[in-house]
Symmetry: C2
Subunit: 439 residues, 2 copies
């Protein structure tokens, strides 16, 4: 078996090998992207994380043993090549490697379950079944480079704004919003659920004196949706801030969005180019449209919508046709928002809730919260929820709870806005939906 790494270590990634490095010895490692055997000369395109380098093996310049080894190589096998850099006008990056040593680290079976050259179209389900191969395509890995950078920049921004990261439990005893969209778990002899949102926990943290908290973690929703915008497990970016209101929350959300987009634009140029997506840094402040105004706009666009209703998909699409980028919808009816949303003190039929939209896609929901215990208890009851199920949560409002506001952003939907992708499955390594639980 020739699959041992031994003392071979990569010295460079493909994109780091430059013509200036002429005659330098390098060790490259990666997958065999393409092979051409012209008899007296073999060309191997070696692909690694960020690029491709040509290994050029003329039979006259290398040992017969090495030439034979190269001849036997198969597509998508993993190799390590030690060799010298040579300038080449024709090869990618203007360089080629003349090999001196080769290690076959892992041989690929053929045929592949999925094409890696990007020339053959594959359905999303076929791609997800063999996700590890799908991700070898640079236009797929680009999505996750952008998502990773986005998450990193969100965290750095929130830390710079003095937020503390918290980890709240995903195993919970009762529902956040009393909904039926929960996955039940057997927790030893008891029934428990998977957290559909850290909402109640981040609110309890507001009574702890932490003031500014964030969490980036999975949430789980047992929704039976089968759309391009829903999954049953996603990453939620959750923020809660004490001693502030919904207007402050919108400001920090807006800043976070612009900062993340700017960071992605500045740091993921290659990935954006690979995706052929022209990422625009949005202007601030984002337009703020009151709910009533939105209903008028939707109706004017020919989509029937009554005041007091939630947005239908058709209404979202109508707004998406009118609005080009990010915008807030504010002043939502209290009746269609969760119990913990603060009613507008001057007109309690309206609420201090907002949604952040990108075209026709809801990116975030947020609000100022009810912080008065008795009002919260009444609102729970009004929604038909059992206060006993919320006793630990309600207790946090009895011993000094500051006013607070916050929001949650769907990391995958946010990634969709930065990549131009239309199917949320594209933005998750191993998506979970109604039908898919593997790989």
């Amino acid at each position: 078996m020739t699959d041992s790494l031994e003392n071979f270590r990569r010295t460079h990634y493909s994109k780091e090998v430059k013509p200036e490095m002429k005659d330098q010895e390098v060790v490259l490692m990666g997958w065999i992207h393409e092979m051409r055997d012209l008899g007296g000369i073999i060309f191997v395109l070696l692909r690694d994380r960020d690029g491709v380098t040509q290994v050029t093996a003329p039979s006259k310049k290398i040992s017969p043993e090495l030439f034979e080894e190269l001849k036997k190589l198969k597509k998508e096998s993993v190799i390590a090549v030690k060799g010298r850099v040579q300038e080449s006008g024709k090869a990618p990056g203007g360089v080629e490697i003349i090999p001196a040593e080769l290690k076959l680290l892992s041989e690929s079976k053929l045929p592949l379950p999925l094409d890696t050259t990007g020339n053959v179209h594959a359905e999303i389900d076929t791609r997800l079944d063999s996700r590890f191969i799908d991700l070898r395509k640079h236009n797929v890995s680009a999505i996750f480079k952008i998502k990773s950078r986005m998450l990193h920049s969100v965290r750095n921004f929130l830390e710079s704004e003095d937020y503390t990261e918290v980890n709240t439990p995903k195993l919970v005893a009762s529902a956040t919003e009393g909904g039926t969209e929960l996955f039940p778990i057997t927790y030893f002899e008891r029934e428990a659920f998977l957290g559909q949102s850290p909402q109640l926990y981040k609110q309890m943290m507001m009574a702890s004196g932490f003031d500014k908290v964030y969490e980036i973690a999975p949430i789980f929703r047992a929704e039976e949706h089968d759309t391009l915008r829903h999954l049953n497990e996603v990453i939620s970016i959750d923020v809660e801030t004490a001693f502030t209101d919904h207007l402050d929350a919108m400001d920090i959300l807006e800043k976070m969005v612009v900062n993340a987009i700017t960071e992605v634009k500045n740091n993921c140029q290659d990935a954006l180019e690979t995706l052929e997506f022209n990422l625009q840094i949005p202007e601030t402040p984002f337009p703020r449209i009151e709910y009533d105004e939105m209903v008028e706009m939707v109706n004017t666009a020919g989509v029937p919508m009554k005041h007091g209703e939630d947005m239908s998909r058709a209404a979202e699409k109508a707004m998406g046709d009118i609005m080009d980028g990010y915008y807030f919808i504010t002043e939502w009816p209290t009746a269609i928002k969760p119990f913990y949303v603060m009613p507008n003190p001057e007109n309690p039929v309206k609420s201090c809730a907002f949604d952040l939209m990108y075209k026709d896609l809801e990116i975030s929901s947020g609000a100022m919260r009810v912080h008065n215990h008795d009002m919260l208890l009444n609102k729970l009851k009004e929604k038909g929820l059992n206060p006993d199920s919320f006793s630990r949560y309600l207790a946090a409002f009895e011993y000094g709870m500051p006013p607070h506001a916050g929001w949650g952003v769907g990391a995958e939907r946010f990634t969709m806005t930065m990549t131009g992708l239309k199917n949320i499955r594209e933005t998750v390594l191993f998506p979970r939906d109604r039908r898919r639980l593997t790989p």
Copy 2:
């Protein structure tokens, strides 16, 4: 109701108010830590995230209405105070605030379920039941400031080492290691499980060309343990690196640990002082003790242990008595490590697995992995596991899988080493164990 924030906003935190700010108008917000009403003068200690400031209200200097409002305040209520800074030799931080305006934002019920002054001892269960009050104590919040900083520095370190953050699913169709320590979920009409580790996913990512990945996310183990070192939901810091072996993995782990400790020591001085913990930056390289040598040390210490056995708690304690800080245990018997651990090629009875210990506490397990498909299949079968349950995972080893190595660090245990705490429950905001599912 007087609970509205209106246009009041905090201008400073307690610790930011300095004697140099004499006569400056400030707005502080927080909880009433203590009250003293001496008749003609009222002292209010206002506590916020990082400190305490004295509000001094002499009846002669403030309006009668404000004096009456102050008189009525109760401990742990939430207030906002606008006032002027005055120097004071006796008050904390050398300053006091002479109030001009007061807002009662949230009134606390009395008596409190938990003392906040730190003078009354409470059992951990009582504290966890009212965690939101427990966290108001600066010696409790200090733990989570350290944990948050640790996580932040781990991420920054890994990003600086060119690692990409990944999010792998927590809803899985089969067990990672075939164990019985899984929480079952009802996933629509199917059975699924909660991920006990991202092991199989981070390995599949090695076949994708991402090369260096990390994930910081919850893991779930249905262990019936009732110890000071186990919980059923914890945060795991997972790293996997392609084209490297276990020695490389140990190096990166060691660097990550030292970097995180250094960052915590440099940025969390107040928190460490509050905890009265003298955090030491460990010297590198950490001692590396082979398994066989460890067995001898344990036996010499009077604790019986046979070669080939896993460490008992008594064995861990014996090692903890001998070793003062961090150390690796290497060359573990292949037979007691999971199927995906690479056997030592020169002596397959031993493996390329390591544990990182801190005194008597296991902080991390890691290894070079098997990357050869047929060897992996055989090892699965040897462990009595059904290869059909692992078909999607095994497929990733058939089409070019580079050699790789990695580890997982328990974020809570790592936090224990940075705080001197002995009960893992202290390091989790809302812990989950055999008995506890709330709050």
